[in-house]
Every structure is written in C-alpha cells, then in structure tokens.
Subunit: 211 residues, 2 copies
Amino acid sequence: MQKKVIKKSDIGIRSKNEAKILEGAVIVFSRKGLDGTRLTDIATECNLPKANVYYYFSNKTEIYERLIENVLAGWDKAFEHIKPDLEPEDAISEYVKAKLEYARNNIIESKFFTFEMLRGGQFLSKKQRQHIVQVTRKYEQVVEYWISEGKLKPLDTRHFFIILWASTEFYANYSNIAELTLGKHKLTKTDFEQAHKSIVQNILNGCLPQQ
Amino acid sequence: MQKKVIKKSDIGIRSKNEAKILEGAVIVFSRKGLDGTRLTDIATECNLPKANVYYYFSNKTEIYERLIENVLAGWDKAFEHIKPDLEPEDAISEYVKAKLEYARNNIIESKFFTFEMLRGGQFLSKKQRQHIVQVTRKYEQVVEYWISEGKLKPLDTRHFFIILWASTEFYANYSNIAELTLGKHKLTKTDFEQAHKSIVQNILNGCLPQQ
DNA sequence: TAACATTCTGACACTTTAGTCAAGTTTGTA
DNA sequence: TACAAACTTGACTAAAGTGTCAGAATGTTA
C-alpha cells in the first residue's frame, strides 16, 4: 500500500514515477480523451508494466483528475506575470502573445483540456469552476476600468475575452485546420508571430478602414 | 448480405435505419470521440440490438467515416447561401451570424468534428482536405478583393478567417466555459445574439476608440 | 399465396481491458 | 548487515467489448 503521508521518500522514487506516469498519461489523453484511453496505453507510453501504474494510481480517472489540477495550475503560472497596469494596447498584445506562446509550447495540455470541455467539463470541480470565473472576472474588471477611462470603446467584456481565448487556443487545438489554411505542413514560430500580429491588429483596430 | 446497389428498397427501411443509426452514433461520438465510443453505446443510443447495427455497418469506423462526410456536406449547405457580393460590413456580419447559428443548432456536429481535429484529422481524406482549402480560398479571395478596393484594411486573410471561425465555433465546443463566463446555466438565443454583436463590432471596428 | 429477398435478433466465440495478488527486488535506516 | 518499508512485475480472474451466425420474422412480387 502506498502512503499518502509526505516523507523523505516522496522526493524520491514515488514522485519521480508519479511524474513519469502523469507525463505519459497526458499524451495519451490528449490523443484519445478520457473514454478512449486504456490504462494499458498509458503504461506503454511511459514504459512501465501496467501493475506498476496501478501501484501509484488506483485507476485512470485518478490520473485524469490529477492532470486537470496540473493543467489549471500551469495556466495560472503562465499568465500571472501579465501586468494589467499597462496601457490597453500593450496589455492586450502581451496577453495574446502569452496565450499563443502557451498554445505553441503546450499543445498537449491544450488538447487535453479541450477533450474535457467536449465531454462536458464533468471533472471540473466546483472550486475549479469558481477559480476560472474569478480569474476571468479579474481581467474583465481591468478592461472595464479601461472603458471607464475612455481608453477602450464600450464593449461586452465577456464576449471580448471569448474572442481572445478562442482565437489563441485555435492554433493548438485545430492545428490541422490552421496548417491547412496556412498551407503549411507544420506551424512554425513565424506562423505564431503572424497570428499574434493579426489578432492584435484586428482586435485593437478592426478591419474597416478609418473613414 | 446488404446490397450497395441503389434500389427502391433503399428509400425504405434501409435508408431509414441507416439514418437512425447515424443519428444515434453522432451523439455518442460527440460525447466520447471515436476511440471512446463502443458499438454497444451506439446501439443503445438508437434503441437497436447490436447485431442489427452490424447488419447495416461492418464496424464503427464505417459509421464514423459516413458521419465525417455528412458533417462536411452539412457545412457546405449551411454556408453556400452567403453572398460575397455584399459590402464587407454586411457580408461579414452575415457570415458570423450564419456560423453562430450553425454552432447553436448543431452543437453535436461541431463537437464531433472537433474530436476528429483533436485526434489529428486522420479521417479527413485528401479530397476533403482539398475541399476545405478550396472553400477557404474562395472566401479569402473575396476579402482580398475588398482590400484591393480599399474597403478593408490590408490584413492577413488566413488569420482573419481563423479569428472568425475560432470565435464562432467556441460557443459550441466550449459551451461550458462560455456558460461559466457569461454566468448562465445554459446559453440562450440572446447570448448568441450578443455574441454576434460583439464579434462583428470588434472584428469590424476594433476595441480602440478612434483618435 | 408461394417463393424469394430483406431485415431482425438472441446466442455464441473470441479478444481486449481492468484490476488483483503474491512473490520477488530494491532502498532506507538503525 | 539486517530488517522493514517501499517498490516492481508476471500471471491471473472477471468483466466488457467485438463481431458472427443461424434461424425467425417481415416485406416484396408475381
């Protein structure tokens, strides 16, 4: 039986192997989703005998839940450095840049989370939902402040963030369609830079010429 | 043995039951993806004995492939009425409206297709890929024409369409996040109308005030 | 209504997957 | 170095899933 108490040994084999399993699992989940993933696939992916995986986790949902936590924590970390005290132009540009960079460097996590959304977000705890709402609200308030200062046009902040989120996530989740559209075999750094430029330009100034 | 030759009987029981199976299958696939779906689930969903499903389709991938075709055909149908000879403002507004309406009325198909994207689009045939590219190109050329006429600012048409596509699809695939963000239990018609207004306003005019 | 084709389905054989277990090895520590 | 705790793993059982088939039911047509 494994111990849940934190001991010296937890910095050793246990945490190392748990990390190894989670690492392999997120890859498989990001390809097949929760329902499509077999525990055998996870074991194979991380080169461990199945029984060894069972030694650390009691089933695949336990692994899955841990991964949900990890991904959410990863987001917080990735975006906490964004400073809302910048001018809107720069802040939005930085936000888009950070989100695109995250999408580029964490395709697997992005897809993993999208799978969870498709299945209805059943594994998001109430706490996690609240956290997401809270973080979003925080950013929305900044945008509302800018609007009140006349630095942005009046707009619906919630839909505004959806446009930002959707546009940036797209390049990870629909990389196939993006590749098709851009006529590339694989998206490059330059593609992401152009995406950044296009999104920012469009979101900030729109596509209609000033009359 | 089933016949592939088209006969009178094809308008009857056969096509009726195939439709019934496809209808149930797309629901299950949209919840669990290809790998997560068991043929038993499909049979249960459409109230048929498993062996009866096997009478019409030899396995689940055959059903899946038929569904991919259907969904792509559905899109063509849904968007073929968009007239590119309108002024950009109206054309873009109509395009967004049509896409949002499609998202609202075809959440299942949208999610189904997103699952396929996440798994890498393996089941999109070369022909289907080419078709997608072709349709996109057609719209891009219209946008490029508008730019050349000075009706739109110079912009990267490919990323431009990605913003449109991503923003509209979001409301179907990430309905959970959208509901969270908008503080709703379920998205209403009004939410989609506001989404339309927000997207169009932002895409056309941006969020920065005219200086 | 006879006879032929199509459709339906319970029951079966076979394969894959989940999860357990006991017997082994390694590691930490006194 | 000895002993316990932690870790590893092949082998196993039970359950779930795939796909087939023979025979019953229904539909079609002359």
